[in-house]
Amino acid sequence: MPTLEELVEVNAISRIEVEMGVREQPMRLLYGTPSFIDWLNEILAGAQPRNRLGEATPAEQVDELFYDFLRGLPLLPLRQFRFIRAEKNAVWELKTPDIRIFGWFLKKDCFVCVFGNWVDLVKDHDLYRGYRIAIRRLRREFNIGDDLCVQGVAPSDVLSF
């Protein structure tokens, strides 16, 4: 079974960083798969949903979500994050008004982003099950065991508050 460092070494995941404020240091860790990084680049290039709900642009929403996550702010359960299904090695969703990000917690306070998409597409096409299955398959392909996957589904299992 690979370690976190080995996953980074073989480019299975890359660390994601955002600009921190003055006198701030990351308190949590965020990683993304290569395809998720490609999606982030599309967001940076100005991709927009058909009907934007948020006042902030999608890029601003993602920056703010990552910023709050990384600086260790308490995220609001259900409003900002939730598990897709109560199960061992659950898949989790990070939320902004217009965006949903799917992945899992490698460790407490350490999240891997695998898929990102617009809220309306996720809801209209009910993509939750598909993303959940795809992420479970990806973990099997990487041979990721229980040591790199948080077991519980309580907010306090995955995030320090």
């Binding site: 600009e19 003055v22 006042e55 601003e60 993602v62």
Partner: protein
């Protein structure tokens, strides 16, 4: 690639983080009100004579907050709004978010370590790896 820096530029970053800060402050105030006097979103909606779903969407960031609606929400919670525009504190040793952005449209300035001594850097140059010494000699 071992790390990816999600950099939207200082203008967008300021906007996005400011919008979120306002909403978080409203959520925090409402949560406190709930604790104090069981004041709910429904009570807020009743007082403002709007549908609760509008309040919920505004607090969730799914509906725009105007200055009027912000003022109304504060009034309904019996709170005052304090707003102040000020220069960021300039201290040696702090992070300079504007200076380290790689996509800012305006010319970037790097503090040379001396208070108020700034060195502008060309907009298209590689800004990530510029040291203080390089900045001084620019």
């Amino acid at each position: 690639m071992t790390s990816f820096h999600f950099d939207i530029g200082s203008r967008g970053r300021n906007a996005g983080r400011f919008i979120a800060r306002v909403r978080n402050e409203l959520l925090r105030a409402l949560a406190e009100k709930k604790k104090e006097s069981k004041f709910s979103q429904q009570a807020l909606a009743n007082k403002l004579e709007v549908h609760r779903s509008l309040i919920n969407r505004q607090l969730a960031g799914e509906a725009n907050l105007t200055l009027r609606s912000l003022s109304d929400l504060a009034w309904a919670m019996d709170l005052e709004i304090e707003l102040e525009l000020k220069k960021p504190a300039d201290e040696i040793g702090k992070n300079h978010t504007n200076a380290t952005s790689t996509v800012q449209s305006a010319p970037i300035k790097v503090l040379s370590g001396v208070r108020n001594a700034v060195v502008p850097i060309a907009a298209n140059s590689d800004r990530c790896a510029i040291s203080t010494e390089q900045a001084k000699s620019a």
